[in-house]
């Protein structure tokens, strides 16, 4: 008993002495679920390299916006870029971090990944419930070599509000005026098709598509790749057939008009020009207050993302994300030096 007491006293003393050494800078973020696996992996690597702890809670874009407004986190993540008015009203600065693509995954006996080709207007008609059979003339015209069956198309969509749906509907509305008028763009939709089911989360949609013969559904590329699902190639704005690859996502990001983007880089990367651009691409964003109460914390957040832009590319590729092209990273970092201040002084130096 005495020994035990002594031991615990010694342990407590050791902890007390060690505590200041162990106390390290830590920054907190919360928001979008789409980039969460990447942010968490970056944070782990960054902690090993620099000893700074970054916590990111994947609570959804809506949660991220609410948390940054309540100032309970150091940075917030969102898949849907916030409008300049909102950013200016709250004194928030917003920048993109990574880009990801979405694919139309399908389940049709006898047809493999990469064999099916779709274009925007046809995909919109499928989601409008106007094309209901796999051997519809429009489908045959795009795929003259495939033997498409006389089977009903089951349309799978997200049942929970999601940035994935926002990017997908942005694309359909961009290529089909009818979709824009009848359905619109949003995180949660009123889908018109009769043969459509909603499933929760990317994994839910992936699961339903794999379950139902004749199903088609939109998922983030990472889910389709990890589950080895069949996905359709798309015809892009330049009229070329493209495969969903990290290169074609990156091409879309590089060909986007970032220079003329509104404040907060809130442009969509939908249907960008260029022969190699994948048409359904979206960026995810970070929000941070322009006026930082704690200069050291604000700088730590920016340092983390600067490190990630410079060293995090490989990790991102492993997880099927694409970091921004260099030219855009330079623009963003130049912004930081000007816009993010504490007590009127800029806190980030290149």
């Amino acid at each position: 008993m005495k020994k035990f007491l002594l031991f615990s006293l010694a342990l407590a003393a050791a902890l007390l002495v060690a505590a200041p050494v162990l106390a390290q800078m830590s920054i907190n973020g919360a928001g979008a679920t789409f980039p969460a696996p990447l942010y968490i992996k970056w944070a782990y690597k960054y902690n090993q390299d620099k000893g700074v702890k970054v916590n990111y809670q994947a609570i959804g874009s809506g949660g991220g916006i609410a948390q940054i407004k309540a100032k309970t986190v150091d940075f917030g993540g969102t898949d849907e870029p916030q409008k300049p008015d909102f950013l200016k009203e709250h004194g928030i600065y917003q920048f993109p971090t990574v880009v990801g693509g979405e694919v139309a995954a399908f389940n049709l006996k006898g047809i493999q990944a990469g064999q099916l080709v779709l274009d925007g207007p046809t995909l919109a008609k499928i989601y409008l419930g106007e094309i209901t059979k796999w051997n519809d003339p429009a489908m045959k015209k795009l795929n003259p070599k495939l033997n498409l069956p006389d089977k009903d198309i089951t349309v799978v969509h997200r049942s929970d509000g999601s940035g994935t749906t926002f990017i997908f509907t942005s694309y359909l509305a961009d290529v089909s005026p009818e979709f824009k008028a009848k359905v619109g763009v949003g995180k949660e939709m009123n889908w018109p098709g009769k043969n459509s089911v909603g499933a929760k989360g990317n994994s839910g949609v992936a699961g339903q598509v794999q379950n139902i013969d004749g199903a088609i559904g939109y998922v983030e590329y990472a889910y389709a790749a990890q589950n080895k699902m069949a996905y359709a190639n798309m015809i892009n704005k330049a009229g070329k057939v493209v495969k969903p690859t990290l290169e074609s996502f990156g091409a879309a990001a590089a060909n986007a008009d970032w220079k003329n983007a509104p404040y907060g880089y809130g442009i969509d990367l939908i249907n960008e020009p260029g022969d190699n651009s994948w048409p359904i691409v979206g960026a995810t964003y970070i929000m941070i207050y322009k006026d930082q109460a704690d200069a050291a914390k604000g700088k730590a957040v920016l340092d983390f993302f600067a490190w990630a832009f410079k060293n995090g590319g490989d990790i991102a590729r492993e997880l099927h994300y694409v970091v921004l092209p260099d030219s855009i990273v330079k623009m963003v970092e130049a912004d930081w030096a000007k816009e993010i201040t504490s007590g009127g002084k800029p806190i980030y130096k290149k």
Partner: protein, 340 residues
Amino acid sequence: MLFEPMHPTITEAMSEGKTVSVPRAFSPGTLRRARGDLYFQRLTAACALVLPLIMIAIGLALVYYSIPALKKFGPGFFISQEWNPVTQQFGALSSIYGTLVSTFLAMLVAVPLSLAIALFLVELAPPRLSQAVGTMIELLAGIPSIIYGMWGMFVFAPLMAGYVQPWLHTYLGWIPGVGLLFQGPPMGLGMLTAGIILGFMVLPFTCAITRDVFKMVPNVVKESAYGLGATTLEVTAKVTIPYGLVGIIGAFFLGLGRALGETMAVTFVIGNSHKIALGLFYPGNSIASCLANEFAEATEPTYVSSLICLGLVLFVITYGVQVISQMMLKRMYKAWSVGL
């Protein structure tokens, strides 16, 4: 008179808050005990008060946050099928319809099955088997609902799509009237699948209670029926079930309450579509599944308020079901003055 409390008049008077003058004959110890009873009674009363307080607080909050939606849409909110977050138009009808239909289907599955299982366990099964199955039922009741949902989506839905739905459509779909129920895309998801999964979830609860009710039917009553030459079926139909009827109906109402509010399992298999279709193969939605899906990313005030108003509707439905069941049971007790 053997178990009568020592000084009932004093404890009673004190619990009613009256002051009692204690005759000399009582020792101080008795008085202390009486006071202890009073404090204990007050403590338990305070604990019991927590329950209605929470209920009232939730009800008030639901009403308060529903006001914006009710102001905007008026009574039309309850009869409109339109649910469009893009245009911010909301109506509760499809969710109310889905909640009621899926619950009805669940009871259609659970009631006959739990009656049959309980009868088998109490009347017919060898004791060892009865015990084993009884334990399994209790285990089933403890499985979290998301497991039912996942099982429903990955195992049960494909079975429905591959065998059950095509069969139902072919053999029952042609009947005028009833046939309309067996229409829709046979993809394994939808109202029917949700109803059946819900039925399976309710089953352990209704079954366990029904079994206990049957067990409490006095053997004397049953044995006298057997003695008169009745068969097992006759004893069951004419003695066991009527004797336990009130308890059985109580069990079913309990299951009904659970089915109404079930969330995760339904979300997985109901198909999540805000449309009303008569065909049971079509996807639908229930109030609880709609809330689970949409609340997290709802940011617009009207949207949030409409979702909370849906919650209020569910609150009222569940409360209404409980009130009706209590009234019904009371009336049955009075009318028959027998049974459990």
